[in-house]
């Protein structure tokens, strides 16, 4: 039989100590991804460090005009937080669209971004808003954080503490969900802050990416029509039972237009 040790630390320092220097140890957040992979033996950690008991990882606060969210804050808490709703409504909308209520009541921001599923919603918000990921070791700009399919810049033992989202002037998120899981087949966050426009795409590729052609087009003309002439190359996009790469390429454009259209 395969066994491992289960820990439930009460502080971040304790959690870090358990994880640091032990490459076979894994943190456990909401458990929605890790529990099934454990049961299928896809992951076989030596130690499981449950972060659910660490109060300092939870919470939402206003900071420098933007919002800072603790890693163990659930999607449901983000979706229903009045500060998020007031300052960055597109972020609340995105959180409200993650999975179903059962997922939103358990799944966490830190768990989602540390896993970096290519179809997760949050990466589009982090990259779209130019967020900063604060870990137990350092601060990582969102664009440097997501490095590939199920891969991040996190070092072994390094934990996400919180994420700081600067407030955009205007932003909207549009996604084409998997009808069952509500994962993003394609999700597009369109955001403008000062003179900068960002179009962050999740679900379409191995990891979140910026559609720079669209950013340039929208910077010159903030309207859905500005994207009409653009084409998205299907090469390198994801292809699965739900959508071919070609279908996803079309979705990127249509979802981007629909995101722009949501913004007055």
């Amino acid at each position: 039989m395969y066994e491992f040790a289960y820990h439930r630390p009460a502080s971040l320092a304790e959690a870090s100590a358990l994880l640091t220097g032990n490459e076979e140890a894994r943190p456990l957040a909401g458990g929605h991804t890790l529990l099934p992979t454990l049961k299928q033996r896809l992951a076989q950690p030596s130690d499981l460090v449950d972060l659910g008991g660490i109060a300092e990882l939870k919470g939402i606060r206003e900071e420098a005009g933007g919002i800072t969210i603790g890693a163990m804050t659930t999607h449901g808490a983000v979706a229903h937080d009045q500060t998020v709703r007031r300052l960055i409504p597109a972020l609340a909308d995105l959180a409200e669209g993650i999975g179903d209520r059962q997922v939103r009541n358990r799944g966490t921001l830190g768990g989602s971004i540390s896993n970096n599923d290519p179809a997760a919603d949050y990466p589009a918000a982090l990259v779209g808003f130019g967020a900063v990921v604060r870990t137990t070791a350092r601060e990582i700009p969102a664009e440097d954080f997501f490095t590939g399919m199920f891969e991040t810049a996190l070092e072994p033992g390094e934990l996400v503490r919180e994420v700081h989202f600067p407030r955009p002037d205007r932003a909207a998120y549009a996604k084409f969900p998997n009808p069952a899981s509500r994962y993003a087949v394609v999700g597009v966050m369109v955001a403008q802050r000062g003179g900068e426009v960002r179009v962050a795409v999740t679900g379409a590729g191995p990891s979140v990416f910026r559609w720079t052609d669209a950013e340039v087009a929208l910077a010159g003309n903030w309207s859905p029509a500005a994207l009409d002439a653009l084409q998205v190359d299907a090469d390198g996009l994801n292809s699965d039972i739900h959508a071919s790469a070609e279908y996803r390429a079309n979705l990127v454009k249509v979802m981007a237009k629909r995101a722009v259209a949501q913004i007055p």
């Binding site: 039989m1 659910g52 179903d100 997922v103 009541n105 069952a180 039972i241």
Partner: protein, 934 residues
């Protein structure tokens, strides 16, 4: 019921939390699934497990008031928190009669579910109730949209969700009083289910819910290849390495290792013998303690595989492919044939002719309850407790596989968490029987979701070529149909499909000249078997596309064209059968006429405005023969009277959620002339009930209902005789006496004065009915069914031209059911059938190895099922019990055609490959040059 089963994970540790208001402490690994701890360690089986992956939501419980999936919540994370399960919903309030006569309490929400018929099979109901309780606590008066959103994480395969939303919206209504019909007023009443309360409290026991504590566990090792030869390695070494293994069963351990639906042609092994024919076929059974069985992975099992190139449907159709079964040249399992008149000549003379090609996919039943059960040996008998649609066939099949007599086999069906045809084949039963017989200990087995999907039967994929023609007067002249059906690796119900389809190929129309030919072909795909409609839904896509196209060519309205050609009483069918009565299609179509005209006009007006969304309205019609095709399929029912005046219906017709436990009582009560609430039910058990056949072919209301009526009338006749009163006497039960009043006055029979029989009944009667049919001749001519259901449905849709998505916005469904014995349940069947038809049309496609879960295999969710208006046409069937026919399968058949026809109306693009997924629709729109108009 406690244990520290320590499989995957850390050492057991104590976790304390509040469970339904009471403090509990359990000692299990903290990583154990909460669902498992509740069910296995704490004995609360009201929380159901449908997928163990967070997809189905059946395991939804509340933690500190919030709904979560218990299957994805580690026990360690509920420390110090409050967990509420379905068993903890109603702890106060008045008690009412629950299961087996003991008391149950219901919340207003549960009572509303009962009143509205929101639970059919009931296996998703605990999850629905927990999600709804969470919602209502925060929002006591939610909108429909808010209900759909809050419950959106729980899947239901039976109801089509409409009545669930109705029940949540109606939860504020007062009271837990339910309709109790007076004697003689049960048929036609909107009465709640006789077995409904237990489904709302978590008391109901499904296949996985009543496992004996001392049972060994069983797991099958299944083939990862569609076609392969294999060699087993050193199993003795495996046994030595895993001392917890009690047995490793191979093909050699199965006494008669061939089973199958039909008396001849038994072709399916319980365990493959050196060769596998589909991915998911069982090759070994591991039996042992729970730890061992859960810990052994397939990688630990010594099997040497030699994969071979699988026979695809295309290869089987083309001919010349390797033969799967030596006795079936060219892989043709069976051919079906109905020929009447001179069809080729007709096309030459017709004013209009159309051709269509249809392609459909494997469709998975996706019942929320995976196959489950247990078996034990009792002396020289084997007893199997499992979910099934067909206890008597199971008994005979197990006797065959075990080499025992029928009398040595007892089947005890549990409540069934959805079937739809998928639980008509054996699943867990044969290997449980072999293991329990050999080891002399109870053995249990629950399929995992991926196992259920990989191993079980599917709807047949079809490739259909059909053409039809009509005269200038708009009357159909000829119909020519050729259909191939992929029946997969084993026969299962393939012959049923191949024989039923030709009879129904023309659709519910009068067509003088017909040729309908079918083949069921073996491939290395999963066995295709019985699935709600037996091939008729696939054929309906073809005939309804042709009707639309012919109407267009003749310049006729599609609805009026169908009305003109609708089969009417006195006209012959394709098999030459002349229906004398209960032929209500024209009435169904007429009932749609007004909504049809209004919706078509509104859609066309909206489309003139342009934009990304196009609206469309389509119609689909159907007919469906009730019962088996040209085969004897009798049912018997027994009703008994107890000395205390209670009435017992011995009901062998398995209720798979559709409601036969209620329908049979309604019918029997009115035939007897006594009230429903005097009845108790003994269900299923082959030792206790009569044989009421299979719950399939939409036959239970018509066939078993007739038996229930005859039993009721038989018992009534006996009572009247003993009381010496006339036929119109009114009966009354009171204090262990039957009172009768007629023109001659009142008489009384004291039941305690009579001698009870071995069952404890002082009087009883058995009723039997077998629908009158004839064999079909070599041209398929004859009387295949005693009666037919008819329907017309209209679908309104919106198509997004940029995404290729199709949103169904409204369905109007007119069904001729002969007589609605219980209108709530008829509506429930229609709504649930429509949801499955919608899935067939737009999203459902099973691909072996790729969609063996409920997030890659898509079934309709709350948001997918539109407003449904049910119109019940009651054209009485003289042969039916109180005029009733069937509704289970008819509900599904016209939906996909109506949606696909609406897609054509919206866009001008004809899609005949189902499912019409967004990428396929978008590609078809682009190919046709249909896009957004500025």
């Amino acid at each position: 019921m406690t244990g520290t089963i320590d499989r995957v994970g850390a050492a057991a540790a104590e976790t304390s939390f509040l469970l339904n208001g009471r403090p509990v402490t359990i000692r299990v690994p903290p990583i154990r699934r909460l669902s498992e701890a509740l069910r296995e360690d704490l004995g609360l089986t009201g929380t159901k497990v449908g997928c163990n992956a967070g997809d189905c939501g059946a395991c939804t419980v509340r933690i500190d008031g919030r709904q979560v999936c218990a299957c994805l919540t580690p026990v360690g994370q509920v420390a110090g928190r409050h967990v509420q399960t379905v068993e903890g919903l109603a702890v106060e309030g008045p008690a009412i009669g629950g299961r087996g006569g003991h008391e149950a309490r219901l919340t207003r929400l549960q009572a509303s579910f009962h009143r509205h018929g929101a639970a059919q099979c009931g296996v998703c109901t605990p999850g629905m109730l927990m999600a709804a309780t969470d919602l209502l606590e925060r929002n006591p008066a939610p909108t429909r949209g808010e209900v759909e959103d809050a419950l959106g994480g729980v899947l239901c395969r039976c109801t089509g969700y409409r009545k669930i939303v109705d029940a949540v919206m109606g939860a504020a209504e007062d009271g837990i009083a339910f309709l109790v019909p007076q004697a003689g007023a049960a048929v036609g009443a909107r009465v709640a289910k006789t077995d409904g309360i237990a489904k709302l409290t978590g008391e109901e026991r499904y296949g996985a819910d009543a496992m004996p504590a001392d049972a060994l566990w069983l797991r099958a090792v299944r083939s990862p290849h569609a076609r392969a030869r294999f060699r087993l390695g050193d199993l003795a070494a495996l046994r030595r390495a895993w001392p917890g293994l009690a047995a490793v069963l191979t093909a050699a351990d199965v006494p008669v290792n061939r089973y199958g639906i039909y008396p001849t042609g038994k072709d399916q092994p319980a365990l493959a013998d050196g060769e596998v024919r589909y991915r998911g076929e069982a090759v070994l059974a591991l039996v042992g303690d729970a730890d061992t069985i859960e810990s052994l992975t397939d990688a630990d099992i010594p099997i040497e595989w030699e994969p071979l190139a699988p026979v695809t449907f295309e290869a089987a159709r083309a001919g010349g492919a390797p033969v799967l079964h030596a006795d079936l040249p060219d892989n043709v399992l069976v051919r079906g044939r109905v020929v009447k008149g001179a069809v080729d000549d007709t096309f030459a003379a017709a004013a209009a002719a159309s051709v269509v090609e249809v392609e459909t996919a494997f469709v998975e039943h996706a019942y929320i309850e995976p196959e489950a059960g247990w078996a034990r040996r009792v002396g020289d008998r084997i007893e199997i407790v499992a979910c099934t649609q067909t206890p008597y066939m199971d008994r005979d099949e197990i006797a065959h596989v075990m080499g025992l007599s029928r009398e040595q086999v007892r089947i005890v069906p549990t409540a069934v968490g959805g079937g739809f045809g998928g639980k008509l084949d054996l699943s867990v039963q044969p290997l449980l029987a072999v293991a329990a017989w050999r080891l002399g200990r109870p053995v249990r087995w629950t399929y995992s979701r991926p196992e259920s999907m990989a191993a079980s039967t599917k709807r047949h994929p079809a490739r259909i070529m059909a053409r039809a023609c009509a005269g200038s007067d708009g009357r159909l002249l000829g119909y020519d149909f050729a259909g191939d059906f992929n029946t997969g690796a084993y026969a299962s119900w393939g012959p049923t499909v191949a024989n039923r389809v030709p009879v129904h190929a023309t659709g519910p129309y009068h067509v003088p000249h017909v040729r309908a030919l079918t083949r069921a072909l073996h491939t290395n795909d999963p066995p295709a078997g019985a699935f709600r409609g037996f091939g008729v839904p696939q054929a309906a896509i073809a005939h309804e596309a042709l009707m639309d196209d012919l109407a267009a060519k003749l310049g006729m309205d599609p609805l009026e064209f169908r009305h003109l050609n609708a089969l009417r009483a006195g006209e012959p069918t394709a098999t030459g059968q002349v229906l004398e009565a209960s032929c209500g299609l024209a009435a169904c179509i007429a009932a749609l006429r007004e909504p049809w005209r209004a919706a078509r006009a509104a859609a066309e007006a909206a489309n003139r405005a342009g934009g990304a969304v196009r609206r469309g309205v389509g119609i689909g019609c159907m007919w469906y023969g009730i019962g088996n095709t040209s085969l004897s399929n009798p049912s018997s029912m027994r009703v008994g009277l107890r000395p205390d005046g209670r009435i017992v219906l011995y009901n062998g017709a398995v209720d798979i959620g559709q409601g036969s436990n209620t329908i049979m009582v309604q019918i029997c009560a009115d035939a007897l002339g006594l009230p429903m609430d005097a009845f108790d039910l003994v269900t299923g058990d082959t030792d206790l009930t009569e044989d009421a056949g299979k719950t399939s072919a939409s036959r239970q209301t018509f066939v078993s209902g007739n038996a229930a009526e005859r039993a009721g009338r038989g018992l009534r006749a006996e009572l009247l005789r003993r009381l010496n009163v006339g036929e119109d006497a009114a009966l009354r039960l009171e204090a262990g006496c039957v009172h009768a009043r007629d023109a001659g006055g009142e008489r009384t029979l004291r039941l305690a004065d009579l001698e009870p029989d071995a069952r404890g009944d002082v009087l009883s009667a058995v009723g039997t009915f077998d629908p009158p049919t004839t064999a079909l001749d070599e041209d398929g001519q004859g009387v295949p069914y005693a009666t037919y259901g008819f329907a017309a449905q209209m679908a309104e849709i919106a198509v997004d031209l940029e995404l290729g998505t199709v949103k169904v916005t409204r369905i109007v469904a007119a069904h001729d059911v002969g007589r609605a014995v219980n209108p709530i349940q008829v509506e429930g069947q229609i709504q649930g059938g429509i949801a499955q038809g919608l899935g067939l049309a737009l999203m459902e496609e099973y691909v072996p190895g790729r969609t063996e879960n409920l997030h890659d295999y898509l079934i309709p969710t709350f948001g997918d099922v539109p407003e449904i208006e049910c119109i019940l046409v009651e054209d009485r069937e003289p042969l039916g019990p109180f005029g009733a026919k069937g509704i289970g399968e008819p509900a599904l058949v016209p939906t996909a055609p109506a949606i696909l026809n609406a897609l054509h109306h919206a866009t001008g693009v004809r899609i005949t490959r189902a499912p019409a997924t967004p990428d396929r629709v978008l590609a078809a729109l682009r190919a046709a040059g249909v896009g957004v108009t500025p």
